[in-house]
Symmetry: C2
Subunit: 358 residues, 2 copies
Amino acid sequence: MTSTDPAPLPSEPPTDPLDEAKPDPKAEATAEALAEKLAAGDRRALARGVTLIESTRPDHRRAAAALVRRLHALPRRTLRLGLSGTPGVGKSTFIEAFGLQLAEQGHKLAVLAVDPSSARTGGSILGDKTRMERLSRHPNAFIRPSPSGAALGGVARRTREAILLCEAAGFDLVMVETVGVGQSETMVAEMTDIFLLLMAPAGGDELQGVKRGIMEICDMILVNKADGDLKATAERTRADYASALRLLRGRPQDPNGFPKAAAVSAVSHAGLEAAWTEIAALAEWRRETGVLEARRREQAVAWFRAEVEEALLRRFRRHPAVSELWPRLEKTVASGDTPPQLAAAKALAAFGLGEEER
Amino acid sequence: MTSTDPAPLPSEPPTDPLDEAKPDPKAEATAEALAEKLAAGDRRALARGVTLIESTRPDHRRAAAALVRRLHALPRRTLRLGLSGTPGVGKSTFIEAFGLQLAEQGHKLAVLAVDPSSARTGGSILGDKTRMERLSRHPNAFIRPSPSGAALGGVARRTREAILLCEAAGFDLVMVETVGVGQSETMVAEMTDIFLLLMAPAGGDELQGVKRGIMEICDMILVNKADGDLKATAERTRADYASALRLLRGRPQDPNGFPKAAAVSAVSHAGLEAAWTEIAALAEWRRETGVLEARRREQAVAWFRAEVEEALLRRFRRHPAVSELWPRLEKTVASGDTPPQLAAAKALAAFGLGEEER
């Protein structure tokens, strides 16, 4: 049935339990220096830190891990906002207007973009900074475009770490925005406290176009472009979404009326203050009821699980016997000589995992 | 930093290279009997086979694996169609009308539904069969609703196996349909030869609502409801999508004009024959140029990779030391005492994977 040789015997990688591992002095020194500068609110250190966690170089990865361990569980009171909206909905303009309003009120706002490249084109999202020019120059704001060319899992890890860095640098508001390709909305919702969905004014049919999944994770729908000719349409769209949201069961822990729909205009600034008041009230409620803290705890557990999966697959791929066998297995699967399941069993055997017990 | 004990020492699971593993006589007997009946076109055997691959019982899983190995790489000439469309677009009505047309022409058509439950509601998709009553009673058709309550990965494996079963039972056309929640469209596109997207007639703004990712994986957009009052709107929508598709670079291997947009009506049957002519021509072209075969080869490799990942994670979770340590790690992560990354390193150490070499 197959033309490959028997799988090579498994060779167990050297075991070195983490608890006995020596810390890497260079990584620790880098981490300590950066952590100190972050604590002093040094924005250049923040930018360098984010670059560090985005790097794939092994020494950078060690320093990044040491840094994140240091920043873990800071007692600071922060709010993490998720924001999604398809292209054309005016997301950058909204973030610029909304963000400037918050920065002017004294909040320190960091904006992180999460835009996993489309699977097919590999296209990356262009300079968010240039589209949010005023906000990016504001002393209370920090904008970081999405790292490009990474898989969704890698983007998730780096974004979660970037949030910690921003908070350590004194940013009390971190907004994570995504265009919502594939599962990126879910990913962003899973790393933030409150999730906002920005929509364009549209006819009744458009409602069907909103994925059910995203309606269920969002806390507030903001219908943008509620100005000029589109004002009435935006208001009608808001009412449509409000009805649709009422059909979904609310979360028992939230105050009445959430999830909500509001009409805003990034151009005329109409509704922006009111939207923030609603968001802040929801955040306050969730804080007081302990929901926010409980959610962050769940998110930490989810992060832990994702870390394990990612590391496990990486270690598997790098295992000498696996990496030697892998190209032959792919070839024999591609030629149709070996069924995928059988090839998978061989790869696992090379890693030292025989057939499961019966 | 953490209150957990040191990770327990790794215990290596018994190694039993697959090549030396004895086949399970009972599983082989079940598989042989089913394979014979499938080859004879026995539809009850097909239904039983699909139930078998959906089962999680260990003996069923062994029999299913044995069955799939037998069916692998049948020389039969088949076409696998993917179809996605949001709720309300008229998907069931379309499949019923389109499917009946094909069944009447002598094609044997199997329809498999892929509907990963929404993460939040856990809601399952209701009886497709009842919504495709005439098609489900046609002797040339086989309809199988989506298995419920499974994760995306599990649904993918079972659907890929169900495709093989249907083909073994003599179905030359297999349509895999999905509502398109999360990444299910990508998943379906990755297991089919041609991917169709069913859309509703809508205003120009709606265009923005189509996820860029799905435009890139689809070969043909079918605008449904091109009848009665909506006929003109549907035609306009078709033209809009056609322009949008022209903006995407075509696939160099495809004939001119693809990806295409067409207007159809599941109610009046307008455009259904023409759509099939286009689809069949594209399939023929891809067959003659070898693109279809090459794509199936790539898909087999992707399936192999997915099998490996799924099995690796399952084995990890079932490892005695890991499953013992896991609840404590989740607890200490949830309490904030241990950073997720550190906990992940401990879990890997319990599995026998120490820190990576420097």
